[in-house]
Amino acid sequence: MSTTTTHAPAGPAPAGGSAFEPVMIGFTCNWCSYRAADLAGTARIKYPPNVRLIRLMCSGRLDPAFVLKAFAEGADGVMVSGCWPGECHYIEQNIKALRRLTLLRRVTEAMGIEPARLQLLWASAAEGQRFANEVGRIVEEVRALGPLAWGRDGARSPGSVEAALALAATGSSDPPPVSPADIDQPAPALAEVTA
């Protein structure tokens, strides 16, 4: 990937065009993906401004409630990023994050949130360029989906995390409600992880 690349459209469309600008939350881990973001910065690599980052120590810290909160507060998409499998600063907590996310997706899908709105991104501290490119890609995918229905018209907005979980439970019989506890059960095949 050449370093002279940039993402179009970066930022809102020029005056006149009123392209939809998604607002997104990005969770990064302190050791790899946040450093990747720093690196993208020091290298002045441009990417769309739609993702607002939150630094966690490890992607393993990601409480499913955080993601639901973000959607409930009106985020159009959520990006969870961490070290590459096998390169986690805390040995393998990023794998645990992945497990959670895999299950969490079932919940969010049950709530009518398209899978593309909740994306996982592995990025090592050395991959500033990759981080930028991937953020660009993810933003475009969410932009294509348009605004997340709830939170605007309140259609299916649970308003609160608890309500969100409840909705996940009742909103459809399958999948069953997922408590964070269940979420630390079986791991997906590593192939799936590194894919």
Partner: protein, 194 residues
């Protein structure tokens, strides 16, 4: 270019380079050339080129449109792919050469007519029969460009015919010839649109 590829910011002065990149299906990585000369060093026909491939890339970058398209370099490419597998920047050099030929042909900016004619004749045969037609091709080509070579070639030609390696009868056209023509016509339209 792959849809995955992000849009590029392009300063004016590399407009020609972008024009060339655009005519090549798939990323040519032309802009990545660092002028190391691996291609020119590897090229079996470099000695007969007006410019080595490396120089051509520099000229493309410099926007020397006419000189580049009139250069015999791309026509001298023998498609041996030595440069392609050796290039430290993974530039798809033969693809660039094909692209330049196509541009030159399209605009009639060719060094001389021998090579382009050969390609044209070859392609005409494909359109006519769906297959290539060696005798027709060579005969037509030699009559136009190599009359002087013909006497010398006679024994070989006769030999080839005698040994059944060349028939004067053109090949039977393939069944799907008309479909093939439609397909190629559609492809041509698509090109025009692009």
């Amino acid at each position: 270019m792959p849809s995955a590829a992000p849009a590029r910011v392009t300063p004016r002065d590399v407009a020609f380079q972008d024009e060339v990149r655009a005519i090549i299906p798939r990323m040519s990585r032309l802009e990545m050339c660092v002028q190391c000369g691996t291609c020119g060093g590897s090229c079996p026909s470099a000695a007969d080129m007006d410019h080595t491939p490396r120089m051509i890339f520099a000229m493309v970058r410099a926007g020397l449109r006419e000189e580049v398209l009139r250069s015999n370099t791309s026509w001298m490419c023998v498609s041996c792919y030595f440069c392609a597998v050796r290039c430290p920047q993974e530039v798809h050099i033969p693809d660039v050469m094909y692209g330049l030929k196509a541009m030159a042909t399209r605009e009639g900016l060719v060094p001389d007519s021998v090579a382009p004619d050969f390609s044209k004749t070859f392609v005409d045969n494909i359109h006519r029969y769906g297959r290539s037609y060696e005798v027709g091709l060579i005969a037509r080509h030699y009559l136009r460009h190599y009359l002087t070579r013909l006497p010398g070639m006679a024994p070989m030609g006769i030999g080839m015919v005698a040994k059944g390696r060349m028939g004067f009868r053109p090949p039977k056209a393939i069944k799907g010839r008309d479909d093939l023509r439609k397909i190629l016509a559609r492809a041509e339209e698509l090109e025009a649109e692009a």
